[in-house]
Symmetry: D2
Subunit: 306 residues, 4 copies
């Protein structure tokens, strides 16, 4: 099997490069708009520690919504079941930043991967941690083994300056009693989590515990319990791809989380974690060539969760 | 007829006083919660200049949403038709602070009397005026003839501190391109308009132009054109009473605007303006005894718009 | 004043004829699609019995949603307050045939002039009357003084054959426990009420009681109490013009009800009833030239409810 | 492993029997309301043909919404990609019979497992088959190897008599151009599919192809292609459990489909199909003890898709 991965991963760029200019690079902030559309990175890390990667796999890009997996993972350790009284665990059937469902459901976000849900997760971290920004950085650094991972302050500032809908969501949560801390303080963490600069290589490492029953390849202790891993993976499969969850489950068949920076992480439980990056997005906001790369991977290996 | 008004107005308190303790005084900010429920003021001013009033008609209370009529009236002079490309003129069928319809209609509020619509009206004033807060005060002072009308800064501060849903609305408008100015600056005007302390006597004066083809009893020039008066009055009748527009139109039959401070202004076009104040609210947020007083007035005189 | 009406009414066609081909004739059923767009009728009847009319005022057309006023008026005599536990009295802020609000509000239609509300009104008539179709015809005949008013069975059949959304509404009401009778039986009455063929002359007569404190010019007894008249008129003003209630209130300023057959009735309480017909519709489904004619009338006479 | 299954399956009733009287047996039709709450059946069939079962596994019950999997599977052979232009493939975030999303999305149901989506699937079958009811029976009989599987006409009749919301959905679809055939004809198939009486033993057999790359244990030819199997399984995981998709994915971790008759089928791709039956439902409408049984199975075996 490892031998196959080597060949498969090497062939991936040739199979998806025709899509590089078919997607649309996110342009709502300058720092994202200027990324060349032909960047492509791919890194796969098996539970047994083998690594297969190609392209710009060492180049850092903006993690964006993929960070929601890591803040959730970090918050689960602090908030336990209390968290789920404040955030649901069901797919939303709505746009990631919709206020409609949030209003009908009185300020309880549908799940932790839509923006409102992730803002509540950030609130949990602000409540429990003295320096939540630093704690998140430390968490990413330890999990990835890269101790210079950092926020991109230019991105964070742009997010804050243009993030009116996220401000609307946070204020709406506060007005409905589902935010313990100051709106600005919570949003500061939220905008910073989105700004983390990270590579496919680092993302695959940071995600490995989700493919390995909670165990990372950098820490002796478990990161999450097997039950928590199941929670995160099932949430990724049912809620991780904006409004294309069903389509992605069919085509790729992996628990996954995407970001508008063009990254996607995927998990084959018990087998591997994988990270891919291509900046051009499809209409749902998921990396076009990134999704195709993962589809190629699970199709050629005949292995997905289905 | 004036003779009748005198007797009718004197009798009103006796007809509605049993309702004083049946409503619920607004308690979302301390400054409103402490108002005694048995306060009652009433002031009617005819187009010919006769005044009939009773009770606490000289005591000032918090104008709250009634102010939306005056900021609209003020903004109509500056923004003209441009205003209506940014705010609709139809009843909303939703709660006054709902985000649902606003999202479906992409950030264009249904009318200028729901919170989102009034925030856009405030934005227009901020765009056109150097000192919009002072301009609004001057407008109220001139129209009412009371030159010491002022903001209640304690109320304004409380509104700002608890107004998360309004902050959500303003940020949502900004995120949808329907707010020209800084969110904080616009909300500062919005929260201040709601905090104006004013009496029934003063409100009846300030509203008279809506009953008198645009002419006030304090100014030589018209305040509004007859067509603009028709616009404001028709908006009050179809959108002025939160989610009880239809019921109020039937029971009272006057263009009217209420506020959670317990005040209501009403207009019988060509005949009179009227202001009433009783702090206890019905479930829709309209003054319970205030509505009953206006119903008594139009029933006993057999004169309403219907 | 009567002298003025004569001249004004004569001049109306010249003022609005440029709009005849600007609207869109309803084409969802063949019987409506074939009506010439340049038909125009107008009939005004004062409370004192004077009549002023012009154009095709004696030609019958399809009453469509205007009939909802008459079934409501008829049902109010039978159902009294019970009716209002099943139908609301507030503007809807939604399309006339929307199911969204109906689902959120658990099968209680917002008002009796949206389709769902009128279906409930028809259900009331089916519950209380042995032969509701005949009773409705008799009602229209007596009120108008035209004893050959009848259903257009071709229209009724077409309505039934294409009325899937109305069938959806009726079944949804039934599934929510807000329909006492058989769905088919209620819809049969609903589709028939819409098919009544009637002229402007007859409509003005049939509506006169709404302008005259409940008294028609054909019956010795009152048709409605003054309170019921106020109810119907206030509902027309706040809910009678589909999604253009606010705009119509401003431009015309009369309680009114329109139908997609191109007819509109209007009421100036205490003064007159008026009916106008021009088949071309504006995007909201209201007669384009019909609305302009009523606007001309209230503007030139300087008399509306505002 | 087979040895383990034997012991595990035998132990299941003891682990879940305390839940039998904690759920609520569906009571909207008499035929369901009278089923004893302590019925419990369980049948697991491995891809290699081993069978492990317990309790009332041979007793037939009402298949209800589980049938939607089989009509979808049958229709996929006829409609191919055309089907997906009429039905979406994403979770709905709404109640299974909601009209709200259907109206906002103009009559295109979110997925084939909500009622509206399954009605469209039935319409496809009516369009392509001379006798769709018989074809569905034949399909179930061949897949299960039980040639006396049949509709329960008492249930089908009750469904039709009380199915007003489904009639609303079908008429709404028709009114939006997303139903080719007569509403009554399509609903006849829909209500009949729900009425099929079938046992856990038979359901496990009928579902085996979904666990076995498209191959049943009764037919030489494949039932579905591997790609179609992936489609059905991914739809079950993301849309198969009403409004508890996310929770079920976490707790059980299998593609699954439930019905209000108390049945659930589950698939571990490449390993086994399983069917469980316990009539008491949780608030989401899924079998309470049935869900617990599947959770026990995947937990004790440490095997799910996550």
């Amino acid at each position: 099997m490892p031998a196959n991965f080597k060949k498969i991963v090497q062939e991936i760029p040739a199979h998806v490069s025709h899509l590089f200019d078919k997607g649309r690079v996110a342009d709502y902030i300058p720092a994202l708009a200027c990324i060349p559309a032909d960047k492509f990175g791919f890194s796969l890390l098996t539970a047994t520690g083998d690594r297969f990667e190609t392209g710009d796999c060492q180049e850092r890009f903006s993690i964006q919504s993929i960070s929601k997996v890591f803040t959730l993972s970090l918050a689960m350790g602090y908030a336990k079941e209390e968290l789920w009284s404040r955030v649901g665990r069901e797919p939303s059937g709505s746009k990631f930043n919709s206020l409609v469902q949030l209003e009908y459901e009185k300020g309880k976000p549908r799940n932790p991967f839509i923006n409102a849900g992730s803002i509540v997760v950030c609130d949990v971290l602000v409540s429990h941690l003295k320096n939540p920004r630093q704690a998140l950085l430390d968490y990413m650094r330890v999990l990835s083994g890269s101790f210079d991972i950092d926020f991109d302050e230019v991105v964070a500032k742009s997010e804050a300056e243009t993030g009116f809908i996220n401000k609307a969501l946070a204020n709406f949560l506060k007005g409905n009693g589902n935010l313990e801390n100051d709106v600005e303080e919570v949003l500061d963490l939220y905008f910073h989590q989105c700004s983390i600069a990270i590579s496919c290589h680092e993302l695959a490492s940071a995600s490995l515990h989700l493919a390995n029953h909670g165990n990372s390849n950098t820490l002796k202790e478990s990161v999450l319990t097997p039950s928590q891993v199941k929670r995160v993976n099932s949430l990724m499969l049912t809620c991780g791809l904006y409004d294309a969850v069903g389509e992605f489950a069919f085509r790729v068949g992996l628990p996954a989380k995407s970001g508008v920076g063009g990254g996607i992480i995927g998990i084959l439980p018990g087998e591997y974690s994988v990270a891919v990056w291509s900046p051009g997005l499809d209409p749902s906001g998921n990396s076009l060539a990134g999704g195709a790369a993962l589809e190629y991977l699970t199709t050629i290996t005949s292995k997905s969760v289905f």
